[in-house]
Symmetry: C2
Subunit: 771 residues, 2 copies
């Protein structure tokens, strides 16, 4: 066959456009392409290839080999595979692919389900799935009942260098063949460009071209972005409202008032190196808002959308695990090793978590102490709007973000390493284990600093004269204090920096890296005229779409979901940032997939898998974090308590709150190690100042219960705790009721599924009884 084909190749070669996705006869369509580089010294590979290809031909596939002389690097052979109709028909049965029975059943109107019976469809998507199925089960050792089979192993041991289906045309122009769909061009034209950002996604076309799994990802992403729009609108309104009422805010007026805030001498924020300072230094506002129900609605309505897609895409009866139950090659070669048990794994993870937190605390504390060295004198230059504290926290957040990105890089390797150590049995198991670990690591990495700022910083500081120290008083590591405005502003800073940074970096990385790699990979080919650069070589030069390709996309979105839900009470603009990112993200992903990657083998999927569970857990967690942020990080409860119970004139306003919320400390009682060094104090500080103020509710010096908490403290604590209890119980109750009221499957879809099942049963009944 070889010599005849080569002769024929000589004849046909240049008669055929390089855009062709057909065999040289121009009729048989290429369903799959294998490539290999001939290695003269390795006879085993040669033999494996021979047996493998013979077996493929035996099953009924048709093969055509391009000689290495035809490739642009002169070393690569391409094996083109075509599956004839009969083979596809057989495997449609095996894979239980439903195809329309008669031509007029393809219409959208699907009242009668009986038309779907097993007949092969002509769709390129399912035909390449079927060819891949054959490839992955074909043996490459003669007469062997063992597990030595499948294209995956051949790729692993280097017998082939690549195996991929072809894109149906070049993305920048439509195919010149009339019997070719040009879906890729359509996708690029109407979907995968940023200028299309306002258009609805052509979900059915995406599903047709890339398969259900990728289709479901884009459907989810689009739906999430739509829902974000509502959250962003509400968040922006809250933010604008906060800005507009900023001027009328009694509280900030009092702080900035020279007569009130300017007369209040505050206690130093750190030992020795910090001096006394005036309250009027911080003129800033905090805002507050919570929109927890958005998530519940989002998650519930997604379930409905998913159920509808599942029905429309005919996935109701499909079994997910078919292909993934095969053993991984690595498992077989290593399965003599014992599995690491669950506890080892847990310990490892916990150790990493603890490591992260400790490291973060240390970095943070060290950095803050440097920056706060002498805030009053050195940082005056930054202008009236940026307080030293704000400058500090922005800088700290930026450095923190860089550390996070570095750690992230390491954690990915650690996660893969631990998973490899466990030697999971099947691909499915491997994927699940890796997902869980990657998610946990990233979760810890991105959120731990925010959690620290929100719930620990400034909470356990003691009081002047008896400060609390981290790891005991000998460590000299005094627990950090927040601004007198609360930790909320620092949490917001941290959140904005990390979230924006991550998104910008993520998009750059996603778009740039594959583009650069393709640019480098095809640098030689670009010199050739287009007519000599064949379709399979073009696709061969693109990036492969890895097994974990979608995993990274989902992970990115889930981490973003965490940022906007877990800390929404501190920064109502977060949904807006996410929305802007996602509008971009949809098109970047689409562009990447359509132009920079080889066509992935279409895979089916019911649902977004473990991610749904993770999103649910995060939504539940966010109720708790937001309740705590409102109660403990924000100033809302102390202010309300002041307004209702402690306002001296009995009016319902905030007059005098600042003075009320600060306790008095007698400077002379400072222990030596906490007293500011002489050079650190500002110029206005002199001997006449005998007391300083700090943020707490304690009896003043000289009172019979000096420096014990006042009644107001307990009053406020009870109010905070009651707020948490009430908010959590109410929100969870509402979540529960809403989740029950919105049924997971739209009633119309359920009725249709039931009706189809009933008709199938009726049909089978009659068939069985009357045969």
């Amino acid at each position: 066959m070889g010599s005849f084909q080569q002769d024929r190749a000589e004849i046909d070669k240049h008669q055929q456009s390089k855009d062709s996705i057909f065999f040289r006869d121009g009729v048989r369509r290429i369903d799959f392409v294998l490539s290999y580089v001939e290695d003269n010294d390795d006879a085993r590979k040669l033999e494996r290839r021979a047996i493998f290809e013979a077996n493929l031909r035996h099953v009924g596939l048709e093969l055509e080999t391009e000689d290495k002389s035809e490739s642009e690097d002169g070393k690569t052979y391409f094996v083109k595979i075509h599956a004839p109709w009969e083979v596809l028909a057989t495997y449609a049965d095996v894979l239980k692919i439903k195809a329309p029975f008669r031509a007029d059943d393809i219409l959208e109107n699907r009242e009668m389900p009986m038309g779907w019976l097993a007949t092969p469809s002509a769709s390129q998507k399912t035909s390449c799935t079927r060819v891949y199925y054959i490839l992955s089960r074909c043996s490459y050792i003669q007469d062997c009942e063992c597990d030595k089979k499948g294209i995956k192993r051949l790729l692993n041991n280097g017998t082939y260098t690549a195996a991929f289906p072809l894109h149906d045309c070049r993305y920048w122009k439509s195919s010149s063949y009339s019997n070719c769909e040009s879906d890729r061009y359509k996708l690029y034209r109407y979907w995968a460009r940023f200028l299309c950002f306002f258009k609805e996604q052509p979900i059915n076309l995406i599903r047709k071209y890339y398969g259900e799994k990728i289709g479901l990802y884009f459907a989810w992403l689009g739906f999430y972005t739509e829902m974000l729009l509502f959250a962003a609108v509400v968040g922006t309104i809250c933010f604008v409202y906060g800005l507009l009422t900023y001027e009328e805010n009694e509280w900030s007026k009092e702080i900035c008032d020279k007569k009130i805030g300017g007369n209040i001498v505050m206690c130093p924020l750190c030992d020795r190196k910090c001096g006394y300072w005036q309250l009027s230094k911080i003129c800033n506002s905090t805002w507050l808002n919570y929109l927890v129900l958005f998530m519940t609605l989002f998650l519930e309505f997604w379930k409905r959308r998913q159920a509808r897609l599942e029905y429309e895409w005919d996935l109701v009866d499909f079994e997910e695990e078919q292909q993934k139950l095969q053993l991984r090659p690595e498992y077989e070669s290593k399965c003599s090793k014992r599995k690491l048990n669950v506890i080892t794994q847990l310990t490892l993870i916990i150790a990493c978590i603890v490591g992260v937190i400790a490291y973060r605390l240390a970095v943070y504390a060290a950095f803050a102490s440097i920056m706060k060295d002498s805030p009053t004198s050195h940082l005056h230059v930054v202008g009236p709007y940026i307080t030293p504290q704000l400058a500090t926290s922005v800088t700290a957040s930026c450095i923190n973000f860089i550390i996070i990105m570095i750690l992230n890089f390491m954690y990915e390797r650690v996660a893969i390493w631990i998973t490899d150590l466990e030697v999971p049995k099947t691909h499915l198991e491997y994927e699940n284990k890796l997902t869980m670990k990657m998610f946990l690591f990233q979760f810890v990495n991105y959120y731990s600093s925010c959690f620290y700022v929100a719930f620990f910083k400034g909470k356990f500081v003691g009081y002047p004269g008896n400060y609390a120290y981290f790891f005991g008083s000998l460590s000299k590591l005094r627990n950090e204090e927040c601004d007198p405005g609360g930790c909320l502003i620092e949490l917001t800073t941290q959140l904005v920096v990390v979230m924006t940074g991550k998104q910008v970096w993520g998009n750059i990385q996603e778009a740039l890296v594959p583009w650069l790699m393709n640019w480098w990979g095809s640098r030689k080919a670009r010199c050739h005229p287009e007519s000599l650069y064949s379709r399979w070589e073009q696709d061969h030069d693109l990036q492969p779409f890895g097994q974990l390709g979608l995993f990274d996309e989902y992970l990115e979105m889930v981490i973003q979901f965490g940022f906007i839900t877990l800390f929404v009470a501190s920064f109502p603009l977060a949904p807006l940032l996410a929305l802007i990112n996602n509008i971009l993200e949809v098109r970047v992903d689409a562009w990447k997939l359509t132009t920079q990657f080889r066509r992935p083998v279409a895979a089916k999927a019911h649902c977004i898998g473990a991610w749904e569970e993770i999103l649910n857990a995060m939504a539940a967690l966010s109720v708790v974090t937001n309740a705590f942020i409102v109660a403990f990080t924000s100033d809302m409860i102390p202010r309300l308590v002041y307004m209702y119970a402690y306002q001296p004139d009995g009016e319902m306003n905030m007059k005098g709150y600042i003075n009320n919320s600060l306790s008095v400390f007698n400077i002379s009682e400072f222990p030596a190690e906490s007293r500011p060094e002489d050079g650190e104090n500002p110029s206005w500080f002199n001997g006449s100042v005998t007391t300083c103020r700090y943020r707490d509710y304690r009896y003043p010096s000289g009172h019979e219960k000096q420096y014990f908490h006042t009644m107001q403290f307990w009053h406020i604590l009870a109010a905070k705790l009651a707020f948490i209890i009430i908010m959590e119980h109410v929100v969870f109750m509402v979540k529960f009721v809403v989740a029950r009221l919105i049924s997971d499957v739209p009633s119309e879809v359920r009725a249709r599924v039931k009706r189809e099942r009933y008709l199938v049963q009726e049909y089978l009944h009659n068939y069985e009884v009357e045969k």
Copy 2:
């Protein structure tokens, strides 16, 4: 046919034992029995029966009719149905019943799943399922494509009076036929008698005889009882520990001490009709304990057990809805009516709930005011151990229990009435709607009084001189107070009375009612000699097993689960009571089913259905209720706060707690409407008493903040709320982690299912490819 058969009947009749479950020929087994009473005036019924039976014969079933003269009441005809092998084989395909392929596959060792292919099995259970399937689809109108078919409609319109499969023998003795299994006798002998209570249940035999649905119920009940054993042991230990340390309890010693408790004059417990009283009147203890994790473990391990049964009973691939998708006859005749929408239904339910609570409050308040009329003088007789309060609450609980049982009876009818109003479409929908409503009504009915006592009683009483009134002060309905020992003792009383009463009454009703009805139904037959009382007549005289039979059993257990979990903190002996009840319950249910009911048509079921969700919701709710009970109903937090922070000597004991926990009220400040009438005061009360004590933390009369809450109050409140928050978060976290660590399906079962699926796929692959 009729006359010939009657001739033959005359001949065979008395040759055949009445114990026979075969046709007169002694070979063909009776798979189903229909009975009817001939109505001379209704020709339509006659015609329907004729067509129906002709259609049955057409399908291949064999029928034999017993004349009415043979029945003991002389009016009832019996139609015996036999399904030959070929009919069963056809319908095994239709119903997708898996049966062993070769005889040696029936062994327990099931490594090779390929043996199960569709061949009819000889089991009586599945053959009667198949006959019932045929009966329920057979038309009774000639040549009609309409829905006029099915035995259910015929039973509804009275064409037949009963349709049931036969028990395989009499329960009190083994069958005399060698080809008959005598499973009923075995079940009765080894399972359905109280003396077997220590034996494990023969789950596989139950499943074989009654089908998977009933088998699953008994498996669940048995498993629940086993798990209760652990809870009961822990609870009993706590209880015994509480009793043993009762004597050493500083707190109760102080109350009962004449010098301390005897000198404390308490404020009256109600307006006008109650007098002052001495604290030493109440010498009683409270205990406290919580075992929340028991539920999580129970629910998680049940999922595993269920998954294992599902595998062993071959239910993995079974579709539940097959039979239940048929329209209900009532739907068709009434579907012109509009459906009540969700909101109407919700409103109705909420109205009922509100009604219950209001009613309960009124009854309670009225009753308490009568009983408390003059506790000091009239109730002295009951002895030293029963205080007036205890006597009151026991009596109140008993009356309450009677009201609950009456309301329960009404609510059942209301639930059915509302469900009927909605006209659900299919049987499945009807069952689901009714389940939810019945559950909600019973939940409200049984628990509302406990919730009221635990969370509202004694919480909003105000203080002497400014009492809080229900519905405003004009209503004269002063909010009830609890004992100074807390409401815990009243909650316990209420719980014990309602729970014990419900269980005792439930068992009596379950066992006695069917027995009495059977005794009445078969009163005439008992006069006949045994040899003339045929098997079908015996079974005909038994109770039919209704559609909601299992529903009532599950509901009973779920309500019991609620009692032991929701309020376990108040009464650690509750699991023990439940355990004793359940050991009895298993055998009562078994006895009832084996001896008092017709054999039910075997039905399949995957799982315990909606009940699992309800149990989960209850387990989650119980964490909340127990946290609140410990914090607010019990005395634990105030005592701990006292011990750690307010003990005057700085020691860690409870000395002086009683005095500390009671505030002082100046008697002269009582408003006229609250002051006790003269006759109500005890003899020792005279003018020298100027103050009385009440249970609260308020400043005494004459203090600058007189009758405002003290700092200790806020301190304790903060501690209570913090306790709730910590306990809920910790417990939910542990629940979540435990639920994740224990996988729902045992790994061994999962591996087997995967392997079988893989082998089936492999088999189908080879079959399709090589055909």
